[in-house]
Amino acid sequence: GAGVSQSPSNKVTEKGKDVELRCDPISGHTALYWYRQSLGQGLEFLIYFQGNSAPDKSGLPSDRFSAERTGGSVSTLTIQRTQQEDSAVYLCASSLAAASQLYEQYFGPGTRLTVT
């Protein structure tokens, strides 16, 4: 079946502009995660959704970052007034909600964001 999809695959934006990144999880996966990966680095957790609610937003780096999820499916990560340090690959993952399967996260290909 279809995996996790993300759009756009690449985004170049000017400093100060807002961007929206989209994630479409695997059908039936109720848990959804956003991570950020800077060049040569591991993944940095941003936010976790269970259904449409976000029990853990602890990784959002500033109030310029926000995310929402509607219909228990598609999620959008919004970055306002982008800064150069926001340049990174933004990865989305999803998993089934069952306890033993929450840790089996399936990742999308990522959105490569470049802020000039």
Partner: protein
Amino acid sequence: QKEVEQDPGPLSVPEGAIVSLNCTYSNSAFQYFMWYRQYSRKGPELLMYTYSSGNKEDGRFTAQVDKSSKYISLFIRDSQPSDSATYLCAMTRINTNAGKSTFGDGTTLTVKP
């Protein structure tokens, strides 16, 4: 200090070699341990996950966890050029921040034919 430290690499081995990839962690609350493989410009792909100390084998891959030493390893036997990728270890606490994983920085492996 990072909660998860991973041997930085890069690592270059000849085809057929046994590869050892290693991570250490500082937080004893981590209970679930995963290894991901990430090809260039792709998202990470879950290779193996384990909950308990000891070894878990899957084909040419063996995941090893030593909770007393806070040390995990991934062994790749008979390595192939197609194994060339970045390998990320990841860990999760159970029952809190469910599913939120803390990742190592990755080790880039090149297997030369």
